[in-house]
């Protein structure tokens, strides 16, 4: 099964369980008002849970059907390829492409790590902002993100710091927002 299909089934299961969880939470988290109305506050969240539950199952079934179709197509194609060995040879990637693909995979991993690093930086930003103030925390965060993105040009940092002050200036003195 392809990675995409596995992931889709995983998401289907996840959302199905999520729908059940909300269904269970509804009586605990939503008190019913003393004045009875035609349709209480619990009705809508419950209906959404039912719809989400059904569509999650739908996603799982749909993915399984897609998987079966892919398998069938795959097994149909194989004998064709066997009949035409030349074409098959052409489609197989040469060694150079393979090493390029490996490099690409390393690049993707690097990308994932970069995104994770920026995510952690953003969390730190939200924690630090009330403690050390908007200007310093923003300048620090921006600089760290630039480092993560691998920028070495000094004037990029200068432009960043100027922008931080400009944002502060506009919000503080023109929009009258009391930034921390």
């Amino acid at each position: 099964m392809t990675r995409k299909n596995r992931l889709d089934i995983g998401w289907g299961v996840f959302f199905f369980l999520f729908a059940i969880l909300v269904w269970i939470l509804v009586p605990h988290q939503i008190p019913v008002s003393a004045r009875p109305t035609a349709m209480g506050p619990r009705f809508f969240p419950r209906v959404i849970s039912i719809i989400l539950g059904f569509t999650s199952v739908g996603l799982i079934v749909n993915t399984l059907l897609r998987h079966r179709k892919e398998m069938r197509n795959g097994s149909q194609q194989r004998p064709d390829l066997q009949q035409q060995p030349d074409e098959q040879r052409q489609e197989r990637p040469p060694a150079a492409t393979k090493s390029l693909m490996r490099l690409f995979n390393r690049e993707t991993l690097k990308g994932e790590l970069r995104a994770l690093a920026v995510l952690i930086t953003m969390t730190a930003y939200a924690i630090l902002m009330p403690v050390i103030g908007f200007i310093i925390s923003s300048a620090l965060t921006g600089a760290v993100v630039l480092v993560i993105l691998g920028t070495r040009k000094w004037y990029h940092y200068v432009i960043l710091f100027a922008s931080v002050y400009l944002i502060y200036y506009i919000f503080r003195f023109h929009l009258y927002v009391q930034l921390p």
Partner: protein
């Protein structure tokens, strides 16, 4: 009455502040549109917080400038570096880039500008004359009609906005859950707040949409990194001749009409409009083989089509309060922030502002033409701006924007949370537009349904005995049926980002 309101609109637009900020918005929009990975939607979401302290007319005009500029700006990079700045300009690459390769970059850019402007103005005029009529009808809507309308909006959006209908509906459900958090509007009881006082007011729209449409895209951009630009066309100062314009005039007007029609239908978007216009121009052409080889007509069709959407998307937004795509959903957030609740009431209570917005759309397009003519050489260089430098600045701007509305760090946390959610969902091919739209339409659907049932004393017949209500319920059913069979009608053209403007 209409003429009087239109004149008031003109009067309000012809104000130095409004004109200035329309132009500021256009520059920002064109830069955002031209930079690959940054979309018009993201531009509007980011700069929305800047309009918070502004006069509503000035603020909204600036955002409309960003919107229209963003859709046009995508064509610049499509022509110069073969990378559409926004998904809406993907069709422009086909002929625009090829023509530029032949040494006519100036001509391609000029045709894109002319077609975009005509498409935009055509759409703005339709908006100006259709919206008030529709609003007059909508004024008679009661709770049952609003319920049916919200269901129609939800159904069409969840089903059309995604390649995979199940995923679209699932995201709609998630958005509806989020909309139920907070105090229940009818009973006044807290729902799904887990005892958290901040959540009693519900999940705020602005931090959620900045997170979903800006932070998630920034994280994605960080992950992908900057692709080396393989080939860059050299800019040549050149314009299309009157003869060339006359030859493409038919295509431009036809595509403007297609774009306008598509734009008025919720759940579509600029990318679909530009591909449909392109296909139609090619189909009806005497020389279809010349498309894709640098045909000016191809550029004209794609660009008149995508900018033709801009005014028309405001029709359902302003008259019914139903946003048709993600960028109008963000605009709805901006209107709400200014205390303007979109819907027929807007035409009754805030007529001068609504007419100014609609007349403003015409001016936005006129200034776009002017700016495009004057600064095309500079815009052609926009792709050289290092996105690496922009990303940290955008993160800071997002945080400031989320904080600004209520002066609380809780909103900043919310924004980051939605950013992470959006990033994870996008990576797994879940469309985020239905989530946001359900967050907006969910309360309308629930509130109006419960109100209707109070009126009818619990009888569901109220939804099937009123003609307008029945009409929308039939439309809802038809749109779901269309979504199930759509693969036969509209091939998958624009990918998952087709609703991202």
């Amino acid at each position: 009455m209409l003429l009087e309101n239109v004149l008031t609109g003109f009067n309000n637009v012809l104000n130095l502040n409004v004109l200035l900020f329309i132009n500021v918005g256009l520059v920002l929009g064109i830069v955002f549109g031209a930079l690959p990975g940054l979309t018009a939607t993201m531009g509007v979401a980011l700069f929305m917080s800047l309009t918070f302290g502004m006069d509503p007319i000035v603020g909204i005009s600036m955002l409309l400038g960003i919107y229209c500029g963003g859709i046009y700006g995508g064509s610049v990079t499509a022509i110069m570096i073969k990378t559409p700045g926004t998904p809406a300009s993907a069709a422009t690459v086909l002929d625009g880039y090829t023509l530029a390769q032949k040494g006519h970059a100036g001509k391609a850019l000029h045709m894109a500008l002319v077609a975009s402007t005509i498409g935009g103005i055509f759409s703005a005029l339709i908006l100006l004359f259709v919206a008030p009529q529709l609003a007059r009808v909508a004024l008679r809507f009661g709770p049952p009609e609003y319920f049916a309308l919200a269901m129609f909006g939800l159904a069409i959006i969840a089903s059309v906005a995604s390649k995979n209908m199940f995923k679209g509906i699932m995201m709609g459900c998630l958005g509806m859950y989020i909309s139920t958090i907070g105090l229940d509007e009818i009973g006044g009881m807290p729902r799904l707040t887990f005892g958290h006082t901040y959540l009693a007011g519900g999940v705020k729209l602005i931090p959620a949409l900045i997170g979903l449409f800006a932070i998630s895209e920034i994280l994605n951009k960080v992950r992908v990194g900057e692709h080396a630009i393989e080939v860059r066309n050299t800019f040549v100062s050149e314009r299309i001749s009157l003869k060339e314009f006359a030859r493409s005039a038919k295509t431009i007007f036809k595509s403007s009409a297609i774009g306008t029609f598509i734009g008025a239908v919720p759940g579509t978007g600029a990318a679909i409009a530009s591909f449909l216009s392109y296909n139609e121009a090619m189909r009806s052409s005497k020389n279809p083989d010349s498309y894709g080889t640098g045909n000016l007509d191809g550029i004209a069709a794609a660009e008149a089509g995508n900018n033709g959407v801009t005014g028309a998307t405001l029709i359902p937004l302003l008259t019914l309060g139903i946003p048709g795509d993600s960028v109008t959903a963000v605009l709805l957030g901006a209107l709400l922030m200014q205390g303007l609740q979109p819907g027929p009431g807007l035409f009754r209570d805030f007529a001068p502002i609504v007419y100014t917005i609609m007349v403003g759309m015409i001016f936005v397009n006129l200034f776009m033409f002017l700016q495009g003519n004057l600064f095309v050489k500079i815009f052609a260089q926009v792709a050289k701006i290092p996105v690496k430098l922009l990303l940290p600045i955008l993160i800071i701007l997002c945080a400031t924007g989320a904080y600004a509305e209520n002066n609380t760090m809780f909103d900043v946390w919310m924004m980051f949370l939605f950013g992470i959610l959006g990033y994870i969902l996008l990576r797994n091919d879940f469309p985020v537009a239905p989530l946001l739209l359900a967050r907006i339409l969910g309360p309308l659907a629930e509130f109006s349904m419960r109100q209707s049932l109070i009126i009818s004393r619990g009888s569901y017949a109220i939804f099937f005995t009123r003609p307008i209500c029945l009409f929308f319920i039939v439309l809802t059913v038809l749109s779901i049926a269309f979504a199930i069979f759509k693969k036969d009608v509209i091939p998958e053209m624009a990918g998952p980002g087709d609703n991202e403007g």
